[in-house]
Symmetry: C2
Subunit: 350 residues, 2 copies
Amino acid sequence: MTRLAIDAMGGDFAPNEIIKGTIMALSKTSNLEVILYGNRNIIDVLLKENINNNFFKNITKKIKIIHTDNFLSMDVQNLREQLRIKSDASMFLALKDANDNKVDGVISAGPSQALVLACHLFIKKFDFMKRIAFSPIYNSFDNKTRILLDAGANIDLKPENLLSFAICATVIAKELLDIKNPEIKLLNIGSESSKGRSLELETYKLLSQEKKINFCGNEEPQNLLTTTADILLSDGFTANIALKTYKGAINNLSKAFKKILTDGFWVKIISKLFFHKRIQNMKKKIDPNEVGGAMILGLKKIVIKAHGSSSAYAFCKAILQGKKLIEADVIYKTSKYFNDNNKLNVIDTN
Amino acid sequence: MTRLAIDAMGGDFAPNEIIKGTIMALSKTSNLEVILYGNRNIIDVLLKENINNNFFKNITKKIKIIHTDNFLSMDVQNLREQLRIKSDASMFLALKDANDNKVDGVISAGPSQALVLACHLFIKKFDFMKRIAFSPIYNSFDNKTRILLDAGANIDLKPENLLSFAICATVIAKELLDIKNPEIKLLNIGSESSKGRSLELETYKLLSQEKKINFCGNEEPQNLLTTTADILLSDGFTANIALKTYKGAINNLSKAFKKILTDGFWVKIISKLFFHKRIQNMKKKIDPNEVGGAMILGLKKIVIKAHGSSSAYAFCKAILQGKKLIEADVIYKTSKYFNDNNKLNVIDTN
């Protein structure tokens, strides 16, 4: 039985969509128990509203609630202050219980940076890890799912951090995406090994020498959606720049196309008739809600960051992703990987 | 009379499109003379082919040719080697003549990195400048034209380099884009002044203190196409990542939309009837060929890098852009700006 801690109060549409998503997940899978962290009164009302037939009633047995009045707002800035004045915030309690082995993992749609920092503080890391990585998975028009890391947890990284991230992500890609020998590439401004800053030059060397990962060279960011790589490595600043640029470009071009397809009465009708369904299908292919949440890698517990704007469906996906990772025993497999590789080819780059 | 040096052999479609573009520019404007650097025989044939009526015949008087057998291929890697074995390559000769005041500026569609490096070697910089910046201008759906720099000349920069770039770009935005008080923003992963690496934190401080520029804070890259800024500042690595991500996202989404609009016989006919013209108009809005070339800023000469894939039309635009910058006397105005600001608020960040 997998036990997951759910931060019921984190997310733009919490607790409503979080509770709905949790019920959805429990109805779709067996061997799962959840603990909801948040305001018991509100959660109870939402559970009653959404569990209204006999089929769903079994689900209530699989749900526990741990009450707390406090939670982090989505625009939280000063985490240290929050730790002082809201030490019992729903996210913090969930993480603490994970570290105390009361649950196997945590799912939260709360504020990303706060979650990353709180993980740092509350959950043990692998001995080999000096940093933890924020690792979204994303899908593309080619129906391939890829992992990007670090997407924002660390703005300054060393080559050895990126090597340890590569190892964690390799295990995840094997177990979550069912890829035998995951291909890793380094995000860079050119494909040649001589391209990039000293970070990229040194990381390229280090990754090339490590035989337990499948490093396949540099990848330029115009190929983010088409790369043969299963895992794209980068420092948090660069990956964040790339992700945000991507988001902006897609949004702006989509808006421009939408205007073309809806500008005028007849045009609107024709678009609806001929293109509506096709466009919905295409949008679905790159919809981040379709692939679950971002993982926080390097920790000795599974922590999934669902999108802040998670719908019930998206949050349900994040829960199922967490369950899959726990059932596949990725924490044990990652630690085994590190232990079996005590002498990883780490070059001292200092 | 403005005299421009044209690298006739640089570009994916050189010399054909370069010669055509030059003729186009000469037919559209007066007070312009050009010197074509390249293979005289080939250029002569192309000139004859394209100047075949009396109206165009006047144009020949405004064209000189400086013969050389050598030029840089578009995939040139080792510039130092090229300098040794092809010291008379068309691009090098054009730049040397600019530095010797034989011409007022240079237009080349040759390989970008080689052009930047060759500018470094052959053309004097402003005393204040320690680096030069690669500065494309780009347009957007909102019909606003913006300058991005540094887009790849320097992968490592200091805050004071970015300040000097901000000053050069301010003069360009005033004179080329006719903007009274150009707004400058710093590309960053967050809008707050506390966001980013030490480069962004220190640059933010430095730019805030300089009263002769209109610094308006950080800009996140999802707003690349919608920012109120006229000038976006960044280091060459980051800007290159953003530009390439943008290019990839637009290409991939455009392909996906194209598939939707052309998949099937009737769909194709309907798309052609209702949407073809609108889509062409939208594409034109973000077509880099519409805005001229990238400028290489910090030099005491105007150097324009036209797109490698320049059509005649795009190359003509780059020539007219160069002419406008020369006629507006931006080199003098920039040097005056630096001289009038001998005590720029440069903080020693070392």
